[in-house]
Amino acid sequence: MTDTVLPGTLDASAGTEQGAAERKAAARTAKQANKRSASKKRRISRAALTVLLIVVSFVMALPFVWMFLTSVRSSPEIFSSDMPMWPAEWHWENFTVALERAPFGIYARNSFIIAVVHTISNLVFGSMAGYALAKIRFKGSSVIFGFILASMMIPFYAIVIPEFLMIRFVPFAGGNDLFGQGGTGWYDTWWALLIPGLVSPFNIFLFRQFFISTPTELMEAARIDGASEARTFVQIMAPLIRPGMLTVALLAFEAGWNNFLWPLLVTSSTNLRTIQLGLSVFRQEAGTEFNLLMAGTTMAAVPMIVMFFFFQKQFVNGFVGSGLK
């Protein structure tokens, strides 16, 4: 390394005024050289870091690349023992073949309906409850909040059996009598898919957090101006937490689109199957035809990936904000 200039070696003409100026100049060049070498070092380490990150990103993304490459392979290629890394020919028709074998369009539509309904209901009921708990004093609010906090702790898997039984034994539904006997209740109906997930305690909690940070003065001003509580909420307070709304919307949509166990339990007919469930069933039907399975997987995964690209920042904020607070 040529970068270290020792100050002592330049001290020859010390004492004179000219010497002082020279010394200053020398010191300046030395400093600059130091800076330059430091930035050079930094550049090298940053380049190394970038390369490392590219490698890591590639490894993380590789399964998706592999999924896509497989989705366009021919069947003989899949079964050949010396399958090339890169598909020899691109068989886009795998997607249409997969669509013929399983109605992924219907599955996707069903998932979309569930995701949208749950997004809207979580936004409406969650924001209302969150607003009430954050900004309105009322008797019982602390009890309700405690209850919401406690239910956040309840894992879905611990209550899935009673939830299923409730769906099955809903009175007067699906041929059931008053005591839920005799029929199938809401089993294999839209009600079963939609009703239990209308609002999650976690989203109420998130909304409460968002509303706590909004200015109470605005709310009071609106009240003084004679706005009703409902109007204050809809026109003044709710718009203040728009970023929070988007976060909850994304979380709710993702949960709806990616849900698996609940649709698996409460549906049996094809036209109520969701995309994840359809994919799982398709795997058993398609057997080892991985090119078709990967075409189906691509169709199930791409909507969320596209959405993530569009709303990356909100997604990240949502996840981070939801976990950290």
Partner: protein, 309 residues
């Protein structure tokens, strides 16, 4: 609703028509706003918890009325080696997988915190597995682990002269293979949380350390690591809780096999309830899961200093 404040009101309004006070009016609106969500959660979370606990003391097959058994179901579980195996697998997945993914995600977060160009691309790549549904992820890895020699892993191993491996079909390799997927899938979220808290660290700490002539390594171990301690605990406990709820991956990747080598507690609940229709026993398993998770959650609240209030 109004009965809460009615006492004070009746004293002063014996004759006049009662006009609700501002607080009263607000109180009504508050309850009205909170009611739909509260009723919904009481019905679909509160009630099921009670039903779960009650059913766990019964023998119930959905066709005949439940029959009270006392603690028999819990005794059965205590003597069931497969249930213990499932619990054990959950613990192994947690103990092996979580520390590895925490270390990787911390390293990635530190690297991504350097403000390099292309940051958002790297972030996206690492976070993508978290956004994708676990079912889709299971399908992809099923293919990567394909034992026939055309699975990606066997192709790569083939380059190094390693013979074809069974991976998910081998009782000894299946669980490690599953753990690898959980690590890959879990890095993204942890990395994001670390990244957020790294950006929250006061830069003055580093500047002060610079003046004292601290090296990058010293700064990392003396400042960064201690400052990240609370969030690390948080990630640790939430990851353990999340790990005990693994289901989609197991269902679609291995069905708990081979020879129960990858079965987990949620898969046991599913099988007992919806394949054997032993609802009483399955709810007892649910209650065990509930207790484990409530303990872990309370533990996490303590450590992170209480989530709220």
């Amino acid at each position: 609703m109004s009965t809460n404040t009615v006492d004070r009101q009746t004293l002063s309004t014996t004759r006049r028509r009662r006009v609700p006070t501002l607080t009263q009016r607000q109180g009504r609106w508050g309850l009205l706003f909170a009611a739909p969500a509260t009723v919904q959660i009481a019905l679909w979370t509160g009630l099921p918890v009670l039903v779960s606990i009650i059913l766990s003391f019964t023998n119930y097959d959905m066709l005949n009325p439940p029959e009270f058994l006392g603690f028999d179901n819990y005794v059965t579980l205590a003597n069931d080696p497969v249930f213990w195996k499932a619990l054990g697998n959950n613990f192994i997945m947690a103990i092996v997988g979580i520390p590895i993914s925490i270390l990787i995600s911390l390293a990635l977060a530190v690297m991504l915190n350097q403000g390099l160009r292309g940051n958002s691309i790297f972030r996206t790549a690492v976070f993508l597995p978290h956004v994708t549904a676990t079912v889709a992820i299971a399908m992809i890895w099923l293919w990567i682990y394909s034992p026939g020699g055309n699975g990606l892993f066997n192709i790569v191993l083939g380059f190094f002269g390693v013979p074809n491996q069974a991976f998910l079909a081998s009782p000894s390799q299946a669980l490690p293979s599953v753990i690898l997927v959980t690590i890959w899938q879990g890095i993204g979220l942890k990395m994001m949380i670390y990244l957020a808290s790294l950006q929250g660290i006061d830069q003055q700490l580093y500047e002060a350390a610079d003046i004292d002539g601290a090296s990058a390594v010293q700064k990392f171990f003396r400042i960064t690591i201690p400052m990240l301690k609370p969030v690390t605990f948080f990630i640790l406990v939430t990851s353990i809780v999340g790990n005990f709820q693994t289901f989609d991956l197991i269902y679609n990747l291995t069905n708990g096999g081979p020879a129960n080598s990858t079965t987990v507690i949620t898969y046991q609940i599913y099988q007992t309830a919806f394949q054997q229709f032993r609802m009483g026993l399955a709810t007892a398993q649910s209650v065990v899961l509930l207790i484990v998770l409530v303990v872990l959650t309370i533990f996490s609240r303590r450590i992170t200093g209480g989530k709220d209030d």
